[in-house]
Symmetry: C2
Subunit: 200 residues, 2 copies
């Protein structure tokens, strides 16, 4: 606010935070820019100094979410463990994240899909894809998964499969614990076979 340049109070960040808050509680359609600026404690016009339109916040929100996912994965997936164990924690983590952030994630898909922001998805997801590709590379070098797969392409397929499975359980059904567990187990078997995991 004053002193030595520390508290520059990044407005953009505050807007994104407020946007996530409001959007999650009111949904995409019912969220007014006036709600967001109220949450961020700024004036209506200020919003437009940082984003050209209401929807333009979406890519920033997406980045925050991908960060969250990667953080969680870094923490829970032990890259030195066997590929089976890694895959299980991967799936568990994604499922937990979807359970805890279903609104945010639903929001994300809606917002990014809308409008012209689809293209940005690729860039935003890039670090996620890279991380999984790396994981597959290691496993492949070690001879734990089939040689015939292309790790880059397959990373996307793995992510797609696991995320769509998680979405289905948490977004559409209000599934009970057993249902969730069964779905997680099914994805595990599906992906494990797809990767051609070799039991040693």
């Amino acid at each position: 606010m004053s002193k030595g340049g520390i508290t520059i109070e990044d407005k953009k960040e505050r807007i994104v935070r407020a946007a996530i808050d409001v959007l999650c509680s009111k949904g995409l359609e019912k969220t007014k820019v006036s709600d967001i600026v109220k949450g961020a404690g700024i004036a209506q016009g200020t919003f437009y100094l940082y984003f050209p339109s209401k929807l333009a916040v979406m890519p920033s929100i997406a980045e925050v979410m991908v960060h969250k996912i990667l953080d969680a994965l870094h923490q829970s997936v032990n890259l030195n463990a066997s590929i089976e164990v890694q895959l299980r924690s991967f799936i568990g983590t994604v499922f937990t994240l979807h359970q805890e952030n279903r609104e945010q994630l639903a929001l994300l898909y809606a917002g990014l899909a809308s409008s012209e922001y689809l293209k940005e998805w690729e860039a935003i997801y890039a670090p996620y894809y890279r991380w999984v590709t790396e994981m597959l590379n290691t496993a492949q070098s070690a001879g734990h998964i089939r040689d015939s797969l292309n790790t880059g392409r397959t990373a996307r397929l793995v992510i797609g499969a696991i995320e769509s499975a998680a979405e289905q359980v948490f977004l559409f059904d209000q599934a009970d614990e057993g249902e969730i567990e069964a779905q997680a187990e099914e994805v595990y078997a599906f992906v494990a076979h797809a990767l051609g995991i070799k039991v040693l």
Copy 2:
């Protein structure tokens, strides 16, 4: 327009058709209800006799798209062929459809994801899931795919994997022919292994 009850000119259908047209060319945000009614040749207010809001057309559009997908699949996938051949035509068909209707499909994801219509996805996709489940059931009974998989759950995973692969090629990249072919081949291998297809 008059005669014996034949040309009742289903307004609802005309609205949906017009909506698909306009939405595809202008995108979700830039499409005005006035554009849709102009395309359908009706008055502004008439729209609201058939749909409670602009977004409410989305589920109807989704139904049309799922119909289109199922029609194409019925036509191209020979249920008497081996599961390998069925899977290949399945993938080919989905890829072709995504190539030819990328705007419609992008639109669809955006529109359904928006707002409260997410829940309807399940119902709209049901026949699609059922069809794939049936395909897997047959293959499983014949011992062509692994016994351990649950066909219902796996049907969703298969659809998810194939569709997300197709989206990625056509929505984000403007991939060349070779890239598309490579992606299709990779999904085939992925799903074939996932299903545990047994070579006879």
